[in-house]
């Protein structure tokens, strides 16, 4: 290929796994035990491309990160296009066009690299984990299909495509949770995940409708029509430069809350978190990839991508934080009493995602970048922990109940060591990755709770960007710096027919009292701090129960409980290295934060103006470390070196224990409020269907045979009758027409 431009490379990232998936499906039976080859090779190539794009874009942005927007849009083709359909004389152009457009900007590049790299490690690990499974080719086809869908989701540059791939990752997730579909629990868990996600998907669908009505486009990027008119995209630079380009008020809040509903479904936040723990019925590598590292972060991505929309609606932002912090706390509490290793990790995932939402909800640049920072580190250490749990499960003959084994560090030293590193990262112990990203999140929350304490100025100067002194056209060259494929630079500013909407700029209008008061944020900060302590506790409870104490192996493991093969431990080691150093490196250099600040969505003045100088918040760090230390100490007190089936910590919880163990009765509540009533309705409907509809249909089916009805007699096969019917019909028509004319 002579001309490997970034635009071409960007297409390759999703295309390669797609090819891999198709090849696996086509050749699966032929390849047999080598069925992993197409998937692993294609994801590896895709990862290489994604990393090279990340590096290239990083150079483009520059080390300092100027905060100018950097994006590249590659429009492959127009999928549905009635671009020339604007009725003559209509005030606002109403072109309905859905381009298949992929974008590259810092946010997308970061996520593409994470998805493909973690995907590659998980795929390699699965070679060992899934061997001898009858569905071996199917598994790799699904993993490759998932990587395709997920990369398309984060690279898509309009809301309809996002919706399409939002559903596609959901479908892949469904198929992987129900991978062992002959197991009733797996089938049930898959169904539950699918149905709960539908609620969120509904939110995204309605949000898309509202966006179309409100903004007249679904594109993220600006487009230029044939006559040179610029159609500003929802997250395009024309609208971003205009500080009042975003609709607040009831409509804006509705859009944001619906987007949040969608994010809650996909990212398993309250009240839609119930599917994720059950999703652990799927193969562990799938849990690591989809239900820990990548798909569940789609909600984070969506909110971060739509940052300007959210910032225009402060109430919605606060709700994001409240949902996140509450989820984080509740899930952590539930996690403390789980005995299934994978479920501990599942609740931990929900809890950590809650952290990210709490961070996003601050609405500050620090909050957004911290959430993505935590997303990145979390992808490393949570994938590591899941794969470690899978390694344990693999060697223990499929047993995952922590009470049934102990002292495994003697049997599987590599797994134990890497799991410990992952746990330290998750617990937020310096200098491991989680410490730094969690510290940033806590700092973001702290900054909202105690404004001024860190020198933040949340009251953005009202004069800064409220005026339209900058002609939007001047921003376009910046946009085209990475060969802006779908925009023609240098369009005359006079051609811009951008109608700005007058709304109060949120940054200039601090909500007086109400939800959005410092007190709220202080409460959210304390909740997050408690969660940090709980996280350390349940993580180390799991570590101590599994890897310390007297060595015990369940009988299912047989006599050959052993360390996993190298093909499984190698990914563990790589992920452990990443979990150990990535946080420190990214924090020290601020490479990620300054890189992300060039994401168009985050260059919106309402977001960018909240930037604060990079600092290490010693007070916050100390509080976080103290919380983690208390958690680990309590876990050590209860479990270090003891038999894991001995008395548990929960005996100290008293009346709270059943509450946690029963997951706050949320599943039971849903069963009583939603599932049971629906079942009653379904029973009635089934009875109606059986007796009334089926009766009707059977009646129609029986009618010709039994009664010898008109239909049967007409369709008799007798030519004369057909001709007669035709002639009679004609006569009827002619007479009816004559009657009509009269």
């Amino acid at each position: 290929m002579p001309n490997l431009t970034p635009a071409t490379l960007l297409v390759l990232v999703p295309l390669l796994p797609l090819v891999g998936a198709v090849l696996t499906v086509a050749l699966g039976r032929v390849l047999g035990s080598r069925a992993h080859l197409p998937a692993v090779a294609s994801i590896a190539a895709s990862a290489a491309v994604a990393v090279s794009l990340l590096v290239g874009l990083g150079r483009e942005v520059g080390s300092g990160g100027t905060g100018r927007p950097v994006e590249m849009v590659n429009t492959l083709w127009q999928w549905a296009d009635v671009a020339d359909a604007t009725p003559a004389g209509a005030a606002v152009p109403q072109a309905f066009s859905i381009p298949i457009a992929l974008r590259l900007d810092p946010l997308t590049a970061t996520l593409l690299a994470i998805i493909t790299c973690v995907g590659l490690l998980v795929a390699i690990y699965s070679i060992g984990y899934m061997h001898d499974d009858p569905g071996y080719p199917r598994f790799f086809a699904l993993v490759a299909a998932f990587v395709f869908s997920m990369t398309m989701l984060v690279a898509a540059s309009n809301f309809l495509l996002v919706y399409v791939f939002w559903e596609a990752v959901g479908a892949c997730s469904y198929l992987l949770i129900g991978f062992w579909f002959s197991k009733p629990e797996a089938a049930r868990a898959a169904k539950k995940a699918f149905l709960v996600n539908r609620i969120g998907d509904f939110g995204l669908a309605v949000a898309t409708f509202l966006l179309w009505i409100t903004y007249g486009t679904l594109n993220f990027h600006d487009t230029i029509t044939a006559d040179g008119t610029i159609v500003p995209g929802i997250l395009g630079q024309v609208r971003l430069a205009d500080a009042v380009g975003y609709v607040g008020g009831a409509v804006g809040t509705a859009i944001c809350l619906l987007l949040l509903l969608a994010a809650c479904g996909k990212s398993a936040q309250l009240p839609l978190h119930v599917w994720l723990p059950d999703a652990m019925e799927g193969p562990t590598p799938a849990s690591a990839l989809i239900h820990a590292a990548t798909m569940v972060t789609a909600g984070i991505y969506l909110v971060a991508r739509c940052a300007p929309l959210f910032v225009a609606c402060p109430e919605a932002l606060t709700v994001v934080s409240i949902v996140g912090a509450t989820t984080a706390l509740v899930a952590a509490l539930i996690g403390t009493v789980q005995n299934d290793l994978k479920r501990v990790l599942a609740y931990s995932t929900i809890s950590q995602l809650g952290y990210m939402f709490a961070s996003l909800g601050t609405g500050t640049l620090l909050g957004f970048t911290a959430a993505i920072f935590h997303l990145v580190t979390h992808a490393f250490f949570k994938a590591l922990l899941f794969l470690g749990a899978g390694s344990v499960m693999h060697s223990m003959g499929g047993v995952i109940d922590m009470r049934r084994f102990g002292g495994l560090r003697r049997i599987m030293p590599i797994t134990a060591a890497t799991f410990l590193i992952g746990s330290l990262a998750l617990a937020g112990v310096a200098p491991f990755a989680g410490f730094f990203s969690k510290d940033e999140i806590l700092a973001a929350l702290h900054g909202r709770g105690w404004p001024g304490a860190h020198g933040e100025h949340h009251e953005a100067p009202a004069s800064g960007h409220a005026s339209l002194t900058v002609a939007p056209g001047t921003h376009l060259p910046a946009a085209s710096l990475l060969l802006g494929a779908s925009r023609g630079e240098g369009a005359p500013a006079s051609a811009i027919r951008f109608v700005s909407r007058a709304t109060a700029s949120p940054a200039t209008a601090p909500a007086a009292g109400g939800l959005d008061s410092p007190r709220t944020w202080q409460l959210l900060f304390w909740m997050s701090l408690v969660t940090a302590g709980l996280t350390a506790f349940y993580t180390f409870r799991a570590v101590f129960m599994t890897f310390t104490g007297p060595t015990r192996v369940p009988e299912e493991a047989g006599h050959h409980a052993h360390e996993s093969p190298p093909v499984m431990t190698l990914p563990l080691v790589i992920l452990a290295a990443a979990s150990a150093v990535s946080g420190w490196w990214l924090f020290r250099t601020q490479a990620l934060a300054s890189f992300l600040a060039s994401t168009p969505s985050l260059t919106c003045p309402t977001v960018a103006d909240t930037a604060v100088p990079h600092a290490f918040h010693l007070d916050v760090a100390l509080q976080g470390t103290l919380a983690a230390a208390i958690g680990i100490a309590l876990a050590a007190l209860g479990h270090l070196g003891r038999r894991s089936d001995g008395p548990q910590m929960e005996r100290y919880l008293g009346p709270l224990e059943p509450l946690f163990a029963n997951r706050f009765y949320i599943d039971q509540l849903y069963a009583a409020l939603v599932v049971k009533p629906l079942e009653v309705v379904a029973l009635i409907a089934a009875a109606f269907d059986r007796h009334v509809v089926d009766g009707l249909v059977d009646g129609i089916g029986r009618l010709p045979g039994v009664v010898g009805t008109v239909v049967r007699r007409l369709q008799s096969g007798l030519l004369q009758r057909y001709a007669l019917a035709g002639v009679m019909g004609t006569l009827l028509i002619v007479l009816a027409l004559a009657w009509g004319l009269r």
Partner: protein, 576 residues
């Protein structure tokens, strides 16, 4: 208005049709005198030459008339469609014939490829002539040139009792339909005093008092019988009865021809008869009372027939077990969907006809509606034809199955032709490519997004909803009618999904011990794959086809193609 004289120009305009006829003659004579064996290759070559010649014709919105021939955007679209579908159908037929050549089983006849190919080429030429006919006589001749080769094809393909019954049935009923259309043409001639469509139209639209009087007498008969004549070709009520029997009694290749090409002919007849009352350009004087009668009758009749036809077709299909009967019923239902578009076009033209001259702002929006109807119909027809030809191509390709057999039960019984839904059981395991293709076509026919069938149904329903958009939905009003029609359409789509999904369920969720043969010949397999590719392309890139359909719709009413793209997907601008 006088007819332009017939000249060399006329023949130049007919070059593609002439090429098809020449190719047919080559096939016939080559078989008789030169020992030519592969008639279908001649057919493919002929179609290729015709395509090349059609490419040199005036396209776009311009109208070129010479003699009885009139080439406009619509006839160009028809011609391209005929040639494109003709190429696919040639492959299906050729594959089908290969089966006949290698098997001596009962029913399918061997040999005769050149005769069949030549006959098929004549059919294509006839259909293309129907598209360019600007004269009643040429239109009728074209229709007969479609019908007569069809009789031959039906009779050639199968020599057993069932095949003979099918071809005879088709023959007689087709004669009835042709007779009706001929009567209709006579009435139109009586009304217009000319056989030229443009002249009849001009007279129909005039405001002379005696025209209105004559219309009262002649129009009901003319319109009713024209629509019945078209209904036979569309397989619409009340001339739909033959379809299940004939499809069942013939080969998959012939069924593919029957379910697509005559439908196009029927749609062209309806468009031309409807077009009589539509002024050739938007700024013409408002139509006289006769034209308003015409349009009023037309849309009501088309709407009623649409609703009845799709419901009858789907209800009949629901219980069918025989695949070809099922697809015949489904083809009846799809004729109903097409009629929705015709009804919308007529209703919108009726609105336009009553508008006073000079209401420019109104005209613009009204034309949008009207274009929506015909555009949606032709767009839908192509999406339907691709899927249907694909299915029949797949059936032709699959050919036969072995019956269940064990060594204990005696000698191996002969192979059976695939006839029932149960014969496709477990196809996803035995022939996954064909199963995927059939599933794709069925899902498209069912209108599952984002397949082309969905875009087709969407444009039809949207066009119906846009009739008299600004009026309230009062009982009995025109808008009420069309909202009702859209509801019936959507309900019917839901019913239809039932029997389409039944086939997919058989292929994917049942298992079988019976081997599949896939002995229908490579050509049919290629046709199946080509249809798969085209359906996928239309899924990803529907608006190429949509634009072409818009141009076709636009040329029927003399408006600019530019406005045509506004059609059904137009977004209603909302007040800010």
């Amino acid at each position: 208005m006088t007819m332009p004289p017939t000249s060399l120009d006329t023949f130049a305009l007919l070059a593609p049709e002439i090429a098809l006829v020449v190719a047919a003659l080559v096939a016939f004579l080559g078989a008789a005198f030169l020992g030519l064996r592969s008639g279908w290759l001649v057919a493919l070559a002929g179609i290729a030459v015709a395509l090349a010649l059609a490419g040199g014709q005036p396209t776009g919105g311009s109208v070129v008339a010479s003699g009885g021939v009139r080439v406009d955007g619509f006839s160009t679209f028809v011609r391209w469609t005929v040639l494109g579908l003709g190429g696919l159908l040639t492959l299906v037929q050729a594959g089908d014939l290969f089966t006949a050549a290698v098997s001596r089983g009962p029913g399918l006849r061997r040999g005769g490829t050149c005769e069949e190919a030549g006959t098929f080429l004549l059919l294509l030429a006839g259909l293309s002539l129907v598209g360019v006919a600007g004269d009643l006589v040429l239109l009728f001749v074209g229709l007969e040139l479609v019908s007569i080769p069809t009789y031959i094809l039906l009779a050639l393909k199968r020599t057993d009792a069932r095949g003979q019954e099918a071809s005879l049935k088709y023959f007689f009923l087709s004669l009835v339909a042709s007779a009706f259309f001929l009567y209709s043409a006579v009435c139109l001639y009586g009304l217009g005093g000319s056989t030229e469509l443009a002249a009849i139209g001009a007279r129909l639209r005039s405001t002379e008092p005696n025209v209105a009087g004559m219309a009262t007498v002649l129009l009901p008969a003319a319109l009713g019988m024209a629509i019945v004549g078209a209904a036979f070709r569309l397989a619409a009520v009340p001339m739909h009865f033959y379809a299940p029997d004939v499809y069942e009694g013939t080969s998959p290749g012939n069924a593919a021809v029957l379910s697509t090409l005559p439908k196009l002919a029927g749609l062209v007849v309806l468009a031309r008869v409807l077009g009589l009352a539509i002024a050739p350009d938007a700024v013409a004087a408002p139509a006289g009372p006769a034209a308003q009668f015409h349009l009023g009758l037309f849309w009501q009749l088309a709407a009623v027939l649409a609703a009845v036809t799709m419901t009858v077709g789907n209800v009949m299909a629901l219980m069918q077990q025989n695949l070809r009967r099922l697809l015949a019923c489904s083809s009846i239902a799809h004729a109903g969907y097409l009629l929705v578009g015709v009804a919308v076009a007529a209703a919108a033209a009726a609105t336009q006809a009553t508008r006073p001259l000079g209401d420019a702002g109104g005209i613009e929006t009204r034309w949008v509606f009207e274009l929506g109807g015909m555009t949606a119909a032709v767009f839908y027809l192509v999406t339907y034809a691709l899927a249907t030809i694909g299915i029949f191509g797949a059936l032709a390709y699959l050919g036969h199955r072995w019956p269940e057999w064990t060594t204990a039960s005696g000698p191996r019984p002969p192979r059976e032709e695939i006839t029932t839904v149960a014969d496709l059981d477990g196809l996803s395991g035995t022939n996954p490519v064909a199963a995927f293709a059939i599933a794709l076509f069925l899902l498209s026919l069912a209108g599952i997004p984002p397949l082309p069938g969905f875009w087709g149904k969407l444009t039809l329903a949207a066009a119906a909803l846009e009739v008299d958009w600004n009026d309230p939905v009062a009982l009995g009003s025109r808008r009420w009618w069309f909202v009702g029609l859209a509801v019936v359409l959507v309900l019917n789509a839901a019913i239809a999904a039932g029997y389409y999904l039944r086939i997919i369920a058989a292929m994917y969720f049942r298992t079988t011990k019976r081997g599949v043969q896939a002995d229908g010949g490579l050509a049919a397999g290629i046709a199946m794959l080509a249809c798969t590719a085209l359906v996928l392309i239309a899924t990803l890139q529907p608006q190429g086809l949509f634009r072409a359909a818009s141009r076709a719709g636009a040329s029927l009413s003399g408006t600019q193609p530019q406005a045509a793209a506004t059609a059904a997907m137009r977004h209603e601008s909302l007040p800010r």
